[in-house]
Symmetry: C2
Subunit: 254 residues, 2 copies
């Protein structure tokens, strides 16, 4: 019998080459680090599954993973043990934080059981680059028109073919996705955008944000977002916004 | 004739050995970095004065400095030049951010003209150490009672002899200080405390926070803060809270 565990984690994406383990390499990844920590806990290789594969430099506030252990572990003890090994492996730094550990039934799957995912994108809109948010936000110098960005974003809400907002290497079977909402928030020079969908295409959030920032700068109009969507062509959308502004916020399950 | 400039800066205190330049050493300091950047701008040594001397690891959201230049510089050009050199000196990293540059009259003094200063102290109150706030907050595991902390803090508001809350190396002539307010705010596991005074003694904010956290944990009562204050003895107050939770927020001038 196997015991399945669901874990919620926060991480600083800066030192990592993304979530996914790189085959046969020693590059620092989230998956690689947690699998190594689990190996040190139970003395045998354990494979984990994540709700989403974040890119290099992308952070997480509430990434969810699951895995199976051959023996029962008390949740709190397990969380302490994993956190202990992660800290040791990373020279005493907390790059990955265990937020919650829960034993779940074997039908739970971090990726396939999810009914919605949300991301936060953070922009510092100021002449000067941020110090405290150095690896935590996209620095945009030109003043952004938030109303225009919201107007542009409204065209993306709902079910659409998001071919224009999908990386050329995206392997999803269909480009159709359903976007629940965009929430814009501005506090002095900090703009945060909260985005929710059932699931996202590869680089979708970052390409949408690159396009909406082009709207905010006045390079394109809010209505251009609709025509970009309709043309189903990645080349006409905006740049892929940098990873350090992106936070994998939350995964919702039934 | 000399031209005086006032500059507001933000910094990540993590890589620095504090604000104050260390004599004859090559340790990284805020003052040392800015003076070096100014030397590169104007080709002669310039001495700066800061509104407050933050400790090693302490951050700033709005530290204020002033200095005199032998020639007139356009404020925007000067800010760009300083930021350029700071970034170069720090291997492309933005550890110090110029927020604002303003030419001021020669009576302005960053330290002596200040009528009030405020700090923010940030605590992560959670079983698990933070990842994204790794060098940005004090991690306190034991659940804190915010009401008790506020009750304890109320005893400190107003004009008092703060001998109990002053580092043994403090060189201020008098231990009397006037505290304007404490504002407590809690958002999930993040506690932020906003503290304002005309000026502070050495380590005063950190010793007050160490003491209030002892109240929050239940190690001492809110009323004990009053007796600690009255006893004028550093040894009976709480620990000095760690520097990474402290942010020099703002300086107010007439």
């Amino acid at each position: 019998m196997l015991y399945r565990y669901k874990i919620i984690i926060e991480y600083d994406g800066t030192p990592f080459l993304g979530f996914q383990k790189q085959k046969g390499s020693h590059l620092l990844t989230i998956q690689g680090s947690i699998e190594e920590a689990l190996l040190r806990c139970v003395n045998q290789p354990i494979k984990i599954e994540g709700a989403g594969r974040t890119d290099s430099g992308v952070h997480a506030l509430g990434q969810v993973i699951h895995f199976d252990l051959p023996n029962y572990w008390d949740s709190f003890k397990l969380s302490q043990a994993i956190q202990f090994h992660l800290k040791n492996m990373h020279n005493g730094n907390i790059f990955i934080r265990i937020i919650n550990v829960q034993q779940v039934n074997s039908e739970f799957h971090a990726r396939f059981s999810a009914i919605s995912r949300s991301y936060i994108y953070k922009i510092i809109n100021n002449r000067y680059p941020p110090a405290l948010d150095r690896n935590r936000a996209w620095h945009v110098i030109k003043p952004l028109n938030m109303n225009h960005m919201e107007e542009g974003a409204n065209h993306l809400i709902g079910t659409h073919d998001f071919t224009s907002f999908r990386d050329s290497e995206c392997q999803a079977k269909t480009p159709i996705r359903m976007l629940h909402f965009f929430n814009f928030n501005q506090n002095e020079d900090i703009i945060t955008v909260h985005i929710s969908a059932k699931s996202f295409l590869h680089h979708q959030v970052r390409i949408m944000m690159g396009t909406l920032v082009a709207v905010g700068k006045g390079d394109i109009t809010p209505n251009d977002v609709l025509s970009i969507l309709n043309k189903k062509n990645r080349c006409i959308a905006g740049v892929t916004a940098p990873p350090q502004g992106l936070y994998f916020k939350e995964v919702v399950y039934n």
